[in-house]
């Protein structure tokens, strides 16, 4: 085999060209990682939001809570679904919830911010069992108090003891909760009657979440409600509901791949051009190696490896830059909601970036390497 030192020393000799070409790969790989990390982060939020034992019901035809409106009569029928667990007081573990996106002008920054408020009764904590109050306390019934998800508190820099304007009034922030990184962390939770009263939504509910004993029981509840003509609801297990929300990211993922492929074509042309120029300068080296007895295939592999080396340098830098975004939190619209998420760079994404780098390297290096392989020693030496 042609020694690898031949290739890497040539790369060092042409370090400026090498670096510029590698930068093309770096940009592609970094962009790919960032886009996939975005999708991954949003999907993670969705995956962690649902509990398989929970069943979410909304008005028929409404794919999102923000559009759903159900009256008390329908909600009572939903609560009577067989298989719903009951609390110590004998009441079903069914959480009536009113979900609202409230746009509010921040007087300090003069900018509009959106607060996602969820009105509920105390039973909600027995249904959404992943929720934990980590600072302060839970809101009290019939008080104008809110507890904030950690995501929204972090995003708007709100602390326990602060006032949160919602509508015409200011609400006391009495607690911060965490919910395992789920979409709930982007919400402000408060008393149902206070919220409904203030926004004139009395007797209207966005959803009812039912707590069952197991995923199988949840499935049975879903089937029961689907077949019950007395209730016109769309019903899904909570995990299915959030999975459906997450499917919106499939378009983003496809977009990320398409954008990356187009960027990759540019990088591939760059490395092909670089390698053709390099080979043009080194035909005599190639001729000498062929005369000494190196086979055409060994020349091909040598130059292909050289291209891969450039690709790997760029890919490694791209991974480094891409990984730097890991954990960065932002909000994005998902369905009718704004969801706080953290960019998530994980091993599969790095593996995809690695494979992408190698594929770009091979495609970019193949034509030049083939031209190197075809160098006729006697002609080249003249």
């Amino acid at each position: 085999m042609v020694p690898a030192s031949y290739n890497y020393r040539n790369l060092i000799v042409r370090w400026k060209t090498t670096l510029m070409t590698a930068c093309g790969f770096m940009l592609v790989v970094a962009a790919l990682i960032i886009m996939l990390a975005f999708v991954n982060g949003v999907r993670t939020v969705c995956a962690e939001s649902g509990q398989p034992e929970n069943v979410i019901t909304m008005k028929q035809g409404c794919s999102d809570e923000i559009l759903s409106q159900m009256d008390k009569r329908m909600v009572s029928r939903i609560e009577a679904t067989p298989g719903v667990l009951r609390g110590d007081d004998g009441w079903p573990l069914a959480s009536r919830e009113l979900f609202m996106a409230i746009t509010q002008r921040n007087e300090e920054t003069q900018q509009y911010v959106q607060i996602q408020a969820r009105g509920m009764y105390p039973v909600a904590l027995l249904v959404h069992t992943q929720v934990r109050i980590t600072r302060g306390r839970m809101f009290r019934r019939n008080h104008r108090e809110v507890v904030l998800g950690i995501g929204v508190a972090r995003e708007h820099q709100i602390h326990v003891g602060d006032k949160l304007p919602m509508g015409q009034l200011e609400w006391d922030v009495v607690g911060i909760f965490e919910a395992g990184g789920s979409a709930f962390e982007s919400e402000a939770w408060c008393d149902m009657d206070q919220l409904a009263g203030h926004f004139h939504r009395e007797g209207v509910y966005s959803s009812v979440v039912l707590r069952t004993a197991s995923p199988a029981a949840a499935q049975q509840a879903v089937e029961y409600l689907e077949n019950n003509r007395a209730v016109a609801v769309d019903v899904l297990s909570e995990t299915d509901y959030y999975e459906k929300q997450a499917q919106q990211t499939n378009v983003l993922r496809a977009g990320a791949i398409v954008v990356s492929v187009f960027m990759a074509i540019g990088a591939v042309f760059g490395v092909t051009n670089t390698m053709f120029a390099a080979i043009g300068e080194r035909v005599k080296d190639i001729a000498v190696m062929r005369i000494l007895g190196f086979r055409r295939s060994e020349i091909l592999i040598s130059f292909l490896l050289e291209t891969l080396l450039i690709a790997l340098i760029g890919g490694a830098l791209g991974m480094l830059f891409g990984y730097a975004i890991n954990g960065l939190t932002l909000s994005t619209a998902l369905g009718g909601k704004s969801v706080a998420f953290a960019f998530k760079v994980d091993a599969p994404i790095l593996a995809i970036a690695g494979v992408f780098t190698l594929v770009m390297g091979v495609i970019g290096g193949l034509l030049p390497a083939m031209s190197a392989m075809r160098v006729e020693p006697l002609e080249a030496m003249r």
């Binding site: 020393r9 040539n10 000498v288 086979r295 055409r296």
Partner: protein
Amino acid sequence: MSEPIIFVDDLHKVYRTGSVLVRALRGIDFEMAAGEFVSLMGPSGSGKSTLLNLIAGLDKPTSGRVTIGGQVISDMDEATVARWRSAHVGFVFQFYHLIPVLTAYENVELPLLLFNMSAAQRRQQVLTVLELVSLSHRLTHRPGQLSGGEQQRVGIARALVTDPMLIVADEPTGDLDTHTSDEILDLMQAVHESLEKTILLVTHDPRAAGRAQRRVQMDSGRLSVETEALQIDNCKLQIEN
């Protein structure tokens, strides 16, 4: 004189330059004995480099045969002749043709990478030949850091490192001044005498050709004159006197 090991039988080479067919070799019959030092002289276009390339397995004849060490190399396919070349032929070029990014040591080691040898074995062989060409102190120097004469010494060491049965040298002193040329020719002669290498030297320089045991003259694709070593030596003495 040893038994011949190189047989060239009725060798023809025709190649195309644009629309013109060039008859580079017109029926060459030629033999070389093992350990013989032969120089090939002739004007430009006489076919001497073509003949050297065919004997070294770098090109295919249009017709005729080249047999070396009992193997008909003119019939071998490209990959086979490439490996045969690496084992049996050492090359010395006019412009040295060392790899610029590799050190003197690595340039000499390059042909050995085609063999199944340990790094220690390679090192031993490389150091031996670099010692032979008096370049043990230049192991880590790159070609750009060496003089022309030193580069050609590295070239000779590279040709010797595989212990080939044949060394072909195409104008090895063509790019050197007279003094350095003499040093290189002294070295080649020493290699021939001490290691009993078979050497085929292509040159325009009568002084270089005079170092060979036998001088072969070519003209228009044919061998024209063969001169024995003794006569060459006499010529050389006369020139020197």
